[in-house]
């Protein structure tokens, strides 16, 4: 758990972070969201002490970070930044091995771990391992960035707009990769972004910031249903509900029973999100869809099902 208590960082008169209190639970992905200049990056960089706070404390598993050796602290936290920051003079393999090497792992263990991590981020180790960063696309480089951050299996992962500099299609792929990795690895992740869709897709909880202060800290669903103030509802805009349904799986909603006989309706797999199901409904201009699980139809999805599923807060918001 990372506990931020009364964190303030001033640059002259300007307060980039202004008395922030925030609890980041172990194993959760917390998104620091907000407009530019909200102080998100400053908070992130205070956690691994790339920036020293003006006042306030950061407790990592109950220990005051300012009492730890900053270098040791950073080695226990994976770090991914927008411009990737791969070392151009090292091969992909050497880049991923950077932190294990700093920690003094033996060669065999490091090599195995590097293979494993490249696999995990969807890069063939034999093909990509010997390349240099210059030879990669932006998306590939960012995958390597994630692999490098995870290589020493740190409990904490700090990510500063990691997918901000790639094209939309690549970004979407990287976001899904991140979501799937996080479901498996359950790291304590602090993720900075100003992209609402990205935040909604990845966050267990969103910490929405403005001018160095916390406006609301909650699940995306709760922020949609109960925005804490005018700024929160204005920041997310009208269609937060439409965004939030990407978090919910068609498999989890109560479907209508199938009518007798084989209805002549488009089919959809139960594994997709409600957002994709809705898009299908609209795209096919269909009144309803037949939901299929493992090849056999299990129920009917239509607009009523969608609305009802959103009415039930508890069923829907559990993740």
């Amino acid at each position: 758990m990372i506990e931020i208590v009364g964190l303030t960082k001033s640059y002259g008169e300007h307060r980039a972070v202004d008395g922030l209190d925030l609890r980041i639970e172990t194993g959760e992905l917390t998104v620091l969201l907000g407009p530019s200049g909200a102080g998100k990056t400053t908070v992130l960089r205070c956690i691994n002490r790339l920036i020293e706070p003006t006042s306030g404390r950061i407790l990592v598993d109950g220990v005051d970070a300012s009492t730890l050796d900053p270098v040791e602290l950073r080695r226990s936290m994976g770090y991914v930044i927008q411009n990737v920051g791969l070392f151009p003079n090292m091969t992909i393999r050497e880049n991923v091995a950077a932190v294990p090497r700093l920690l003094g792992w033996d060669k065999k263990r490091t090599a195995e771990r590097v293979e494993e991590m490249l696999d995990a981020v969807g890069l063939d180790p034999a093909r990509y391992g010997p390349k240099y960063p210059r030879q990669l696309s932006g998306g590939e480089a960012q995958r390597v960035g994630v692999a490098r951050a995870l290589a020493a299996d740190p409990p904490v992962l700090l990510m500063d707009e990691p997918f901000g500099a790639v094209d939309p299609l690549t970004r979407e792929r990287l976001q899904k990769l991140m979501r799937d990795l996080q479901r498996r690895l359950k790291k304590t992740v602090v993720f900075v972004t100003h992209d609402i869709d990205e935040a909604v897709l990845l966050a267990d909880r969103i910490a929405l910031m403005r001018d160095g202060r916390l406006e609301q800290h909650d699940t995306p669903e709760a922020m949609w249903r109960r925005p804490a103030n005018e700024f929160v509802s204005r920041f997310f805009g009208e269609n937060l509900g439409l965004r939030v349904i990407i978090r919910h799986c068609l498999a989890d909603v109560r479907l209508k029973p199938l009518p007798d006989g084989a209805p002549d309706l488009p089919r959809i797999d139960a594994g997709v999100s409600l957002k994709e199901a809705l898009a299908e409904l609209v795209g096919r201009r269909a009144r309803a869809l037949v939901v299929v699980r493992d090849g056999s139809p299990v129920g009917l999805f239509d607009f009523d099902v969608l609305v009802e599923s959103l009415a039930e807060e508890s069923a829907c918001d559990a993740r």
Binding site: R74, G78, Y79, I81, N83, V84, G85, T91, A98, L102
Partner: protein, 248 residues
């Protein structure tokens, strides 16, 4: 892309081989080189500088250039490193402008001014060329380290490298092409500027050139100049290299 870079790499080594062969041939095949000089300056009556054989002159030339280059690289690196420290930023401009000023003094004048202090011989040459080389080296050390992209530096610190680890594993390798650019300039300039050493009796390939100038003998001038040129070109080619990670 890979094919292209291998091809230019191959061309570079062919050039290096040719220049090395030419330099070695002129230095060691005395009779052959004399025939060439005879062909180039048929009206002369003597073609080889009689006082010293070319092997000795070449050895002196290399010694002058190498000593000055090594000293300039050492001192320039130290100066550049100091200029990069927090303490160095304050006096960086002062050092750089002093260095710039030193470069405006003509080399020959500087050598001549040093003679009363050091006497005739290689010392004034080595000192003068070192003084000329320090600044370009220091400048390139500073420029090279400062050319490291900020996000790379940030990532190095952020993943937990200590300052020295960051310098050795990331900053120096990335700065090396720029630093080597400075080294190349200094070495190449020193190889040709060492010919001026003849003026202060330091020996080297400048001696036949000076003698040829004095006796109106073009063959002597060519005897000193041609090996000096091929040696400079050889070093230029040798030191022109891109690191593996920088090739596409």
């Amino acid at each position: 892309m890979r094919g292209k870079s291998t091809r230019s790499e191959a061309a570079r080594w062919v050039g290096i081989g040719a220049l090395a062969a030419a330099t070695a041939w002129m230095t060691f095949d005395t009779n052959g080189f004399e025939r060439l000089l005879r062909a180039l300056a048929p009206s002369e009556s003597a073609w080889l500088y009689p006082t010293k054989p070319l092997t000795t002159l070449m050895a002196e030339q290399i010694w002058l250039a190498a000593a000055a280059s090594v000293l300039a690289i050492l001192l320039g690196s130290v100066l550049g490193a100091v200029a990069l420290t927090r303490f160095g930023i304050a006096f960086r401009d002062l050092v750089l402008s002093a260095g710039n000023l030193a470069q405006t003094v003509p080399t020959v004048a500087l050598m001549a001014l040093l003679v009363p202090l050091t006497g005739y011989g290689p010392e004034p040459v080595i000192i003068a060329l070192t003084l000329y080389g320090v600044l370009p080296i220091a400048l390139n050390v500073v420029a090279g380290i400062e050319s490291v992209p900020p996000e790379v530096r940030d990532a190095a610190t952020g993943i937990g490298m200590r300052r020295l680890q960051r310098l050795v594993r990331v900053e120096l390798p990335l700065a090396m092409p720029v630093i080597m650019g400075g080294v190349k300039n200094v070495v190449v300039i020193n190889v040709s500027a060492a010919t001026l050493g003849a003026v202060v009796a330091a020996g080297g390939l400048g001696m036949p050139i000076l003698a040829g100038f004095h006796d109106y003998n073009d063959a002597y001038i060519l005897e000193g100049a041609l090996p000096s040129i091929t040696l400079a070109l050889l070093l230029d080619r040798l030191l022109t290299t891109r690191p593996r990670w920088d090739r596409s």
